[in-house]
Symmetry: C2
Amino acid sequence: MPPAVRLANMAWAEYHGNTRLMTAKTLDNFEKALSEKVKNNIKSQTKMEGKMKRYGKVIRVKPEKLEEYKRLHANAWDEVLKMIKQCHICNYSIFYKDGYLFSYYEYTGENHDEEMKKMAADPKTQEWWKLTDPCQEPLTTRKKGEWWAEMEEVFHTD
Amino acid sequence: MPPAVRLANMAWAEYHGNTRLMTAKTLDNFEKALSEKVKNNIKSQTKMEGKMKRYGKVIRVKPEKLEEYKRLHANAWDEVLKMIKQCHICNYSIFYKDGYLFSYYEYTGENHDEEMKKMAADPKTQEWWKLTDPCQEPLTTRKKGEWWAEMEEVFHTD
């Protein structure tokens, strides 16, 4: 696990109220320990933060294809996962219940539509979708151009 | 925005391949800048990381109550949000589409069931649920004791 991730988890845990692992005093030392260069990076990072956008999407899965869909996703291809990351999609999960698949991800890039086009143009991703698309049944109420139907975020708390 | 969160975002961005904002050299300086005390905290934090669990849940919303549900959640009560955080639930979102509500959250505590009981025993949360429950229609396929039906995670990538 990269040190940046351990650090991020620690900071998140503190922010989210898990004070068992990090007291206010430790946090204070933690901040003091940062170099000026890092502090400046944090400032420039602040601009980017506002751009993270959460996506929730829904689609149906064909009952007879559910096991195949699960099997595929239990061993998703490295090239596909790499392309997802390259397109600034992170913390991406898919959940199943009663014929529905719900997906959740966080987009940290600057142009979601453009990066989705980039992903759709990737030959390995296209190959992957040739296997996964036939498992799915898109909602008839989806918007034009959608496969997974985008949902409306009605609540969020950090 | 607390410094810990700005820092966490920076670290996550680096890990998730967004190198536009943080070069390898900056990350190196960043790590060097950490005090021994913080480094030790990171070590103890590593143990906790494995315990984070993602939850996806689904429920229906009554069509005539959708607007009320959205209105309530656009101004959720501080006491309710505070209780959510106290129960180690974070990054909690609810999405809507076609009569379905999908919720996603991350649990960083050590006993999910116990903390859900704690939440259910909180008078302010009970008061809140008296407003939100009548907006919802739980799935008939939910498990015994469930209100929101827990979904199965079939895919995840960081």
